[in-house]
Amino acid sequence: MSDKSNWKIWEVFVRSKNGLSHKHAGSLHAPDAEMALKNARDVYTRRSEGVSIWVVESEAITASSPDEKEPLFAPSDDKVYRHPTFYEIPDEVGHM
């Protein structure tokens, strides 16, 4: 306990209501997955923010590097035809 460096960092994802997807809420320290869930409940859902929590060890996440930003994301900038903005959507369809 005194050696807090043993505690892993966990990323917390909270689903705010049924039907919505889990969203990243933040991160926290915990010694294991069960405790990470409990800590997440206390830190991120104390104002009724959630109906479901996922936790995952931060080190299990592979992230894209800021250096790769150009090759990864720039090519889609000039491909407007990928957005379905050329269609007329009937009003009855409502929000999509």
């Binding site: 306990m1 409990k38 800590n39």
Partner: protein, 251 residues
């Protein structure tokens, strides 16, 4: 007072919740890590919320213009009816956890039965509180398991904490005249039954945690009758300072 017994019993429930909440709130800003600081202060707030419900009810039973604040802030130590267990000092993290585990396990079985109390008000407070208490009991048991089955150091320390707190566990499980009267009125549960459930659960968790059940049977009692350890005076001095020094203070 017409309902003197019910008033005293409600005070026991309210004072125990209040003093434990006040004790736990001392951890605010001092938890070993941010996450546990928040966990413990959440529990402190739950306890104080429960205390308010019971003290509001007690004040109504007392009449005479009493309210939750006069009961919390303008009584002296000998008028408090909380268990001795909850006024014991926080000690280190393991000591606080041991006290919490002992208490939460008892509180869980107690409130499970209070939900069916013949006194509708107590039953409704218990139903509301049960969701919180079920979480507290889970949380503190998880911690006992992790510390007991953790490192050699954490194992030895939490074993010592359990041994130390054991002598304060008897009072809550032992029925006195008031407990028996309340049980016969269908308001409170049979403490012998709670004791059996408590022993089974505590020994089960301690076993998973690779800890030994203490053997000591010499228990301290008195809190339920208003006979307290010296610690309560210090708790009240801090808790009651403001309303006693400035009786008309408002926000």
């Amino acid at each position: 007072m017409e309902n003197a017994n019910l008033y005293d019993y409600t005070l026991r429930l309210g004072d125990t919740a209040l003093i434990l909440g006040q004790r736990l709130s001392e951890w605010c800003g001092h938890g070993p890590v941010l996450e546990q600081d928040i966990a413990l202060t959440n529990i402190a707030l739950d306890q104080i919320g429960q205390a308010r419900q019971f003290l509001q009810y007690a004040a109504e039973l007392k009449g005479d213009g009493a309210d939750e604040d006069t009961l919390a802030y303008h009584r002296d130590a000998h008028e408090f009816r909380n268990l001795l267990l909850v006024e014991q000092p926080n000690g280190h993290w393991g000591d606080t956890l041991a006290r919490q585990f002992i208490f939460d396990t008892y509180n869980y079985f107690l409130f499970e039965r209070l939900m069916k109390s013949k006194d509708e008000r107590i039953a409704s407070i218990a139903i509301k509180a049960m969701k919180e208490i079920a979480y507290h009991a889970q949380w503190s048991a998880e911690w006992i398991i992790r510390l007991g089955d953790g490192t050699q150091e954490s194992h030895d320390k939490i074993q010592q904490s359990i041994d130390d707190v054991w002598m304060w566990s008897g009072e809550m499980l032992e029925a006195d005249k008031l407990d028996v009267a309340m049980m016969e009125a269908g308001i409170a549960p049979d403490l012998n039954e709670i004791k059996e459930l408590w022993l089974t659960k505590v020994s089960e968790i301690l076993k998973i945690a690779t800890l030994e059940m203490p053997e000591g049977t010499g228990h301290q009692r008195g809190g339920k009758k208003g006979v307290h350890s010296e610690h309560l005076g210090y708790i009240l001095a801090e808790m009651q300072y403001l309303p006693k020094s400035y009786p008309d203070a408002t926000w």
